[in-house]
Structure formats: structure tokens, C-alpha cells
Subunit: 344 residues, 2 copies
DNA sequence: CCTCCTTGTGGAAACGATTACACGGGTGAT
DNA sequence: ATCACCCGTGTAATCGTTTCCACAAGGAGG
């Protein structure tokens, strides 16, 4: 592979001039620039990004650490992130933490070693100081979707969506359909999305004079299998819930599994709803009602915030509203959706 | 961030010794090694991967260029690739080509600039010489899932799965259920998986004395929307097919969409099957019959082949068999599955 | 005519690691 | 005692860029 020296030789100029020509530095003559460009073309020269990074101390690369690549929500997020980053001239390296703290650490470490310019993280459960230490050490960090507490002493914007209103709508919807015993399959308590969604649910319930007994809170870990187990536990209760709300789409899938393997039917025997809408929910049996996050917008906003921080501007946290998408998994609602909102 | 010099100073040795101690070079005394390790620990030193790569001319990074991150098949592949790579001491950078040749080129270029050690690609439609040029220029390349012709003059192993037998089984299954007018939604003709699957289908049909008229070949692009369009076209035919085989899962999703929006039902009005099994197919209405690839094994084999090439060993192409998973989307088959095979 | 600035250029010093080479001192064989 | 060798270590070159600094040539202003 040709180096800058080869180009310089071919163009009959020094390496300094080649570098300047390529980086659109103003003080290089039209003529020299032309000769350099020609030489570059002829040799098929491409600057060595590794060497460049070493010298300039920037890689134009973003790290994205997500909790689970197999979760359609995160792949959509990842896709949006990559697109926006590319538009801004950055590449992104994705690390899949698979909901395992030690894997998350592994990726954070590897990415730091690579000297990425900034880090986008949707932190998993499990308190490890590495992430915050990294932020404290000066690497620009932005949280997306989830965040972890203790980031007060360091500037880490959070880009997320607020499901409170949508959850309220969902509970109203369930209530209207006659469901009174409502249960939730929660995510790990240590993740914000884990606890937050339970809180929102509990509050919404309270507004209708309903309680959320401990038996009706299933402990999940955002994976399908845990959704199945939690649902089976619900079904074994002396008084099983009439509706189950899964805090993410994978656990909803597991729940669907569980009720089906008992020979029961959704929504006739039990209603089901999920957080995070995905294309497949349209085609499940039955189509499932879900709280939809503006995933793409979230990803793009997160990248913009991160790049702002990297390039020395200040970045602010962003919260975007989620909305309820009613389908058939909670029962037929008739034609009236008093609280339906128009698409944002 | 501390550099190797800081460590050397702290440990009271030269940078050379630090480097040697860290790279388990044999000739460094126990005592020096201990002091170095202590200093590393105290300072929280991490070697700068960029500098190291520049010097050693290897990044211990693999590039993975896939055609579509949103396709569950590819995300499962990506996940397996990352796992195996990690086990072997490599990181992977994923590039999403989104079925667009120019994006594929963009990623190949970016990855080459980064001096990745090897490239794993599942090429999109559209002939651009860049990919083969890269391989010819000496970058180890392995094709996974799909491949492109013209790679004969350069050693590019292909890791893929052979669906021929499974497609034969599928057609037998459909035939047994009484379906005679069978259609296929093909992928882009320029991708091998696009044309190959059509050929396998045609051959299997021929074995039953059935033809595959042009009207029954829908042109898709592996995206959901194209599956919908193709299916609508089928449905508009004076004599619509009795069964539709989608060459990937996303197009099957689109097909499902199309038949549902006409108020028709699967499998009563039309049967449906897909290439690429995914978890969601269990929960669609109805569960869909699919040809399942050993995706994880494919990804792992691909990484091993690539690393073999990188580390100077020779790598061979690998072909793994796919198998048929019968569900309900083609109709009830009774209890007998004469050709059912046990899980590999 | 001299000075001062501008413009275009090249030489050489970084960046942070790895590694070839040299060297000093100990050890075993002759 | 001499020699050859090995071991542990340090000095310095190197990887491919960017960029600081020096410098030459030419133009403008006094």
C-alpha cells in the first residue's frame, strides 16, 4: 500500500505539501494541489487512519455499547446511530453487552484502548465503576435509553424517551376493557428502564384506584426466557392477573410463549401489552398493543449530543415522548380511543 | 492518560523493558516484571492501541459488512461473529450496507483505511470492483452467506449454508398438502442467495413435475416492502398461486402484510413459507414454516476461516446444511413428517 | 533601496508504542 | 585464563501522518 512518501515523490513535492493539499490547508498553490491530487489518483493512495489518529489524537470514531443486539429495539437504535454518525463524518463501533456487566466493561475497555472520540452507552444492570471512571477521565459519554445514577459530578447527557404518558394511556385502555388485576414483568431493578417503567405503571394504576401487589411484579432481565418464567409464575397464582404488561418486547415474546404453551389465548384468557413496539408485533397472534418509542429520533439525538460534546460544544439531555399503539392483544376496544394522539 | 514512559519512570526501568514485560517477552527478570506490573496497576495504564497498531501493522480487528442490520438473520450472524472473534482475541467493526452498493463500498473503504486485519462480507447486489480489488491487494477476505463471482483469481473462502435439501423437503411438504401452483419471491438476481434459492426451488418443483412460470417469480430485494408488492402482484393474477415461498424473512413479513390487508388468511387462502427462520416466526399468525440456517455456526466458521487466513494458515470454504422447520403456515400436515431430520 | 509582510514550500520533530542492536556482566567449557 | 555464549537491559530507529518552524521569493510601502 502506497504511503504519503510515495505520493510526494510522484508529485515532486514534499510530504508536508501532500498532507496540506489533502487537508485543504489554504496555503498550497493550485498547481501543487493538482499534481498531488493526480498522484493520489494514480497510486490509489488512501491515508493511513491509524497513523493519522496517532498524530492528531482523534479517531473520528464513536463507540456504541448496547445491552442486546438481538433485541430489535436496539438494532433499530444502532442503525439510526450509525446513520447520523456517518452523516457527521464519524464511524461507529458497536459493542454488544448482552446484558452482562463484565461484557460491558470489556467493550468499554477495548473501545477506550482504541481511543474512540466518544462513547454512547445504554448501560446494563450491575454496578461497575469503569463506565463512570471513563467519563470522569475525560472521554465524552452520552447515555441513551437507560442511564445510571451517580453521574452528577460529571457531565453525561441522557437521551431517552418518557413513557409515563403512554403507560397512563395503556392502563386507561386496559381499565376501559374491564381489566382490574394488572401485572407487570419488570426489567432489572438496577436499570433505569427497569424501575422507571414499574413506577409509571404503579402510578397509573393508582390513578384508577388499583394497587400493584408484589405478586404481580415479575422479575425479568429483558430477555425472552425471563418473560416466560415470570408469566408462568403469574399463571400459577391462585388469582392470576387479567393483563400482563411486559417491560420490553423480548419478554413479551416469552410471555406469549408461556400463555400459548398452557393452551390459553390472548386476549380472551389474558391480555398482553409491551414496552417497545417493533414491526413483528403487527403480525403476532394476536397483534400486540405496545408503547412505541421514537427509536430513530432517539439514536440521532444521542449522536448529535455526543458529537457536540466531542467538538467542544455543550450538550443537553433530551427526553422524547413515547406513544401508545393499540392493537388487539388486550381485547377489542370498540371504536373509541379518547386519548389517542396524533403521530408526533 | 499515562503513557508507557510514565510507567517506565515509575518502575525505574526503560520503556523497552516495560513493553517487553507487558508482551510476555521471555527475557525480562521476575523482579523487573513485578515492578512494571505494579506501576501499571498504580497508574491505571492501558497501552494505546493506535500507536501499537501503527508499529506492529496489525489492529486485531475484523470488519464485518452485512447487507442489513435490521434483518434478524444478520443480527444473529453478527452476534455469533463478535463472540467467536472475541474468543480469538479480535474485535469486530460492523458496517451496515443496507442493501446499497455505495454504502457497502463506503464501509469497505473506511475499514481498509482503518487497517483492519481482515474482512468478512456478505456482499450486496451491484457489481463494484472495490471489494475484489481489496482482496487482491492482500487484505484477507471471507464471504459469508452470499458471495460474488469473479473471486477465482484470489483466495476468498465462502462460508455459507446449502438450502437445496431443505427446499426440496419444503416443496414435498407443500405438494403433499395439495398445493400445485407454487410461487417464489426472489432476492436480487445479482446476489447468490437471490438466484440460488430460485434455482433450488425450480429444481425441487421439477422433481414433482411442476413448472415455475415467470409470473410466479416475484422480484424482491430482501426488504419487507418488496415482499408486500410481490405478493400483491401474485394476488392480482388471474390464477394466483396457492403457496408463496419468500426468499428471506423480511419479505415473508411483507407477504403476510399483503395477504392480511386483502382480508385473506394464511394458510386457508394461501400458504406461506420463508427462508431464514427467526424466533418471531413461532408467534406470528400463523406460525410460519421456514428453512432454518445454522446461523451461529456459520458466523463462527466464518471467523475461524478469516483468522486462519490472517494468521497465515490456509482456510477452506465451508458449507453447512439448512433444515426445514414445519409450522402451520402451509396447512396442517397431519402427524407424518417422513423427511424430518433430527437436529444437527 | 531597504524593510516588512505574505505565500508556498521543505525539513524535521512529534505522537506512543515495538524491536533491532549493542553492551555489560556472569557462566561454563576448553 | 580465555573464549563464547546467554541473559537482562537500555538506546535509538521505526511505523505514517500532521504540523511547527525556517526559509526563499516576491510585492508593497516607506
Amino acid at each position: 500500500m502506497p504511503g504519503i512518501k510515495d505520493v510526494a515523490a510522484r508529485a515532486g513535492v514534499s510530504v508536508a505539501t501532500v498532507s496540506r493539499a489533502l487537508n485543504r490547508h489554504p496555503s498550497v498553490s493550485e498547481e501543487a494541489r493538482a499534481r498531488v491530487l493526480a498522484a493520489v489518483e494514480e497510486l490509489g493512495y488512501r491515508p493511513n487512519a491509524v497513523a493519522r489518529s496517532l498524530r492528531t489524537d482523534q479517531t473520528r470514531t464513536l463507540g456504541l455499547v448496547i445491552s442486546d443486539v438481538m433485541n430489535p429495539y436496539f438494532t433499530e437504535l444502532a442503525r439510526a446511530v450509525e446513520e447520523e454518525a456517518r452523516a457527521l463524518g464519524y464511524s461507529v463501533i458497536i459493542g454488544n453487552a448482552d446484558e452482562r456487566p463484565e461484557l460491558q466493561d470489556h467493550h468499554i475497555r477495548t473501545l477506550s484502548d482504541r481511543r474512540i472520540d466518544g462513547l454512547l452507552v445504554s448501560p446494563t444492570d450491575g454496578g461497575t465503576p469503569l463506565l463512570l471512571d471513563t467519563a470522569r477521565a475525560g472521554t465524552p459519554v452520552v447515555f441513551v435509553d437507560r442511564w445510571i445514577p451517580g453521574a452528577d459530578d460529571v457531565d453525561v447527557p441522557v437521551v431517552r424517551s418518557d413513557g409515563r404518558d403512554a403507560v397512563r394511556e395503556l392502563v386507561a385502555h386496559l381499565h376501559r376493557l374491564g381489566h382490574r388485576r394488572l401485572a407487570i414483568i419488570a426489567g432489572p431493578a438496577a436499570t433505569t428502564t427497569g424501575s422507571e417503567r414499574v413506577e409509571a405503571f404503579r402510578e397509573a394504576l393508582a390513578a384508577h384506584g388499583l394497587a400493584l401487589p408484589d405478586d404481580y411484579i415479575g422479575q425479568g432481565d429483558f430477555q425472552a426466557e425471563s418473560g416466560r418464567r415470570a408469566t408462568e409464575r403469574f399463571l400459577d397464582l391462585p388469582e392470576p392477573p387479567e393483563a400482563v404488561f411486559a417491560a420490553d418486547n423480548l419478554m413479551a415474546l416469552g410471555a406469549l410463549d408461556a400463555v400459548r404453551s398452557r393452551g390459553l389465548r390472548v386476549p380472551d384468557d389474558i391480555a398482553l401489552a409491551a414496552f417497545d413496539d417493533i414491526p413483528w408485533f403487527v403480525h403476532t397472534d394476536p397483534p400486540v398493543t405496545a408503547v412505541a418509542q421514537p427509536t430513530g429520533a432517539l439514536g440521532r439525538a444521542a449522536v448529535r449530543a455526543l458529537v457536540d460534546r466531542i467538538e467542544g460544544r455543550t450538550a443537553r439531555s433530551v427526553t422524547l415522548p413515547a406513544r401508545l399503539v393499540v392493537r388487539r392483544s388486550c381485547g377489542e376496544d370498540g371504536e373509541t380511543h379518547p386519548q389517542k394522539r396524533s403521530d408526533p
